[in-house]
Structures are given as structure tokens and as C-alpha cells.
Amino acid sequence: MNALLRLLLRDLAMLLPGGRRGGSLLPFLFFLAVAMLFPFAVGPDAPLLARTGGGVIWVAALLAAILPLDRLVAPDLELGTFDQLALRGVSEEAAMAMRLIAHWLSFAPLLLLATLPAAALLGLEGEIMRIVLLGLLAGTPGLAALGLMISALTAGLRVGAALTGLLLIPLAVPILIFGAGALSQPDGAGLALCGALSLVLVAVAPFAAGAAVRAAREG
């Protein structure tokens, strides 16, 4: 347990904003940029913006979740970090579970924070903003889990960020449907399903990502 805690602290030191692997503010800024672009493209139609704004925030969040993926697992595979961990009896699954927590902490809280200025830009009302925030809170763990699985699967390949993004988008559609769908049917069912999806993905991700890393090691 002690080893896992140390691993988590190291991962956080790398991934958090201002961390060693850098670039963690990028999803935050990218998210704001997308939310800012939309009113420019649609025009100053306040009712339209208020009606579609929640969905725009969801799409922006999904796109922003793609950004950190290419540096999430691949560098450690190249450095042999997972080999050294395996020699010390730390399984890939455990390492991936810690990476998942660190990954979520590094982008989701900032994204939730950025939702406030983005909602102001889009002119969202308090009730809608509450549903968007709750939806993102329920959905981002699932996005993080999907992202981790995809970046672990593609870590051994030399393909870069484009493929990870292309893979994440279709797989994230269910989260998007339930999370953004909660905006038009505010009875809480969408949020509950979004959270349920997230829980399943979070439960599966360490094992799937761990298996992918081990396959890359043994191959």
C-alpha cells in the first residue's frame, strides 16, 4: 500500500498542472477556447446559446479530455518504468489504478472550474449549469478511464495523439448521450446512468490498461 501511495504521488507530480510532464493547463485552456469559439460562430442569439450551451460544454469537455492522452502511458513504457515496478512486485493493474486517479485529478477538477466561465460565456442559467456540473462530475471519471485504456493500448504503437482521439470519441458517445441528455430531461435518470457508466469503466480500466501494458512488455 505504501508503494502504491508513493506511485500515486509521483504520478501526481508528473501530471498535475505545472507538473513535470507539463501541458496540464492545456485541456483547461482548450476547453475554454472551444466554449468561447461557439458564440462567435453562432452569433449573439442568447436563447439559442442558452439552449445549446450545455451540449457545447459537453463536447468541449470531451475534446479537452483527449489532449493529455498521448503522454499518459507511453513515456513510462519507453523508460522501462513498468519493468522496474514489475521487478518490485507492483503489478501493472495497480500502477494503472494509480495512474487513473492521478489522471482524473489532473484534468477533471480544472474542467469543472472552467465550466463556470464557460457557462457565463454561453449565458447558461443556474439550473442548467447545475446539471452540467453534476453531469461532468459523473462523466469525467468514465472519460478518464476510457482515456487511460486507450492510451495504454496505443502506447506500444508509434501513432501519436490523433489515433487516441479518434478512438476516444466514439467510445465516449454513451457518456455524452446520458450526460448531455440529462439537460433535456431533468429527472436525474441521465445523470444516474452517466454515473453508472463511469463506475463500470473505472472498475474495468485498471485491468484492461494493465493487460495492455503487460502485453506490450512481454511482446
Partner: protein
């Protein structure tokens, strides 16, 4: 040291892609012994070390290990962006110890602890990987080309470290294309086992 380390392999075979690299390889090492793996590039030295470490599955055969394993290969496993001291202390803490100043001074790393790992030269990075190995206090050393990038003093240092390790009852396997003086002059030529 806790237990007496032992490392044995029985009828090992290794496959990469659809090529069998070697087969029928036996070896047995007890505490205090060192083994030199020789062979040209691509013969399977790294694969053999990784199989012995348990990082790769053998195509056939079995490996019996008793004791903790430390490995140094071409990849330092030290965060390039982190200062050397931070990167080393991560592993040292994970191993339940601390990088001792004495060992760092012996490896010539004392003045480099504030330098990010990515600014280190090839030889310095190799020395850093050796520092990680020393702090681990493992019983079985698997060294894959440990002399790459090291200067003459560095080579002598590795020879001294391996000799000390074996004198303390440890096992060392060294794969290298450069000559290295080991405490016991057993050589395993993988060429003899090529399928």
C-alpha cells in the same frame, strides 16, 4: 541478505516473432556466482535477461528464482524532467531505503542531484541507473550492456561493484559485447543454443 539467492533455468527457448532465437538453454547460479553472457547483436541476450527477470514469458522451459531481482538495461526508468535526486529517491523510497551519499559519490553523481535527468550524458545516465540498482539492494543483478557509454573509470567501477556484490553473496548476470572482468569467469555463449 535474507535468503540465499538462486537462479536456475531449465531448457529455455525464446521466440521473437516467428523466429526461435535460442532453445534448450540451461543455467544454474548460486549465491556469489557471476555469469558473463556473450554473443553478437540480436542473438537474444536481452531477451534471455528479460525472461530470467520474469518480464517476458519463455517460449518453452522454466525459470526458478529465489531472491530479489535488480535490473539495469538500456532504459534508465528515471523521469527525464525530474532532477536526478528526485528521480532516484522515488525508487529508493519504493525499495524502502534511501540513496546513500557514499554510493552516489562513488558513482560520481553527488554534484548532479539538482540536474534534470534529461540533461545528463549517456554515461551519467548509466551511472544513475547503477545508483538506482545499488539503492535497491537486490540479490540477483541482471545487467544488460552495463558498460555502454561508460568511460574507463566507469568500467572499472562496474567491475568493482559486481565483485563486491558477488562477495556479499549476490548473483550477477552480465550481458555485454565489451570485455568485463567478473569475479567468476564463467561464460555462457548463446550462440551454442541457437535453434
Amino acid at each position: 541478505m535474507q535468503t540465499v539467492p538462486k537462479l536456475a533455468a531449465h531448457q529455455l527457448a525464446c521466440r521473437r516473432g516467428d523466429r526461435i532465437l535460442f532453445r534448450g538453454l540451461d543455467l544454474s547460479l548460486a549465491g556469489g556466482e557471476a555469469l558473463y553472457l556473450s554473443g553478437p547483436n540480436g542473438i537474444g541476450k536481452t531477451s534471455l535477461l528479460r525472461i530470467l527477470a520474469g518480464l517476458m514469458r519463455p517460449y518453452a522451459g522454466s525459470v526458478a528464482r529465489e531472491g530479489t531481482i535488480g535490473m539495469v538495461d538500456g532504459r534508465p526508468a528515471l523521469d527525464p524532467q525530474a532532477p536526478l535526486g528526485t528521480a532516484l529517491s522515488f525508487w529508493a523510497r519504493l525499495d524502502g531505503g534511501a540513496a546513500s551519499d557514499e554510493k552516489l559519490a562513488m558513482l560520481g553523481l553527488s554534484d548532479l542531484l539538482d540536474v534534470p535527468v534529461r540533461y545528463l550524458s549517456t554515461g551519467q545516465t548509466k551511472r544513475a541507473a547503477l545508483a538506482r540498482l545499488l539503492a535497491q539492494d537486490a540479490q540477483i543483478w541482471l545487467l544488460d550492456e552495463p558498460l555502454n557509454g561508460l568511460d574507463v573509470q566507469g568500467v572499472a567501477l562496474v567491475e568493482t561493484l559486481v565483485a563486491q556484490h558477488c562477495a556479499a553473496g549476490g548473483i550477477a548476470l552480465v550481458a555485454s559485447h565489451q570485455p568485463i572482468a567478473l569475479p567468476t569467469s564463467t561464460t555462457l555463449a548463446i550462440v551454442e543454443y541457437v535453434a
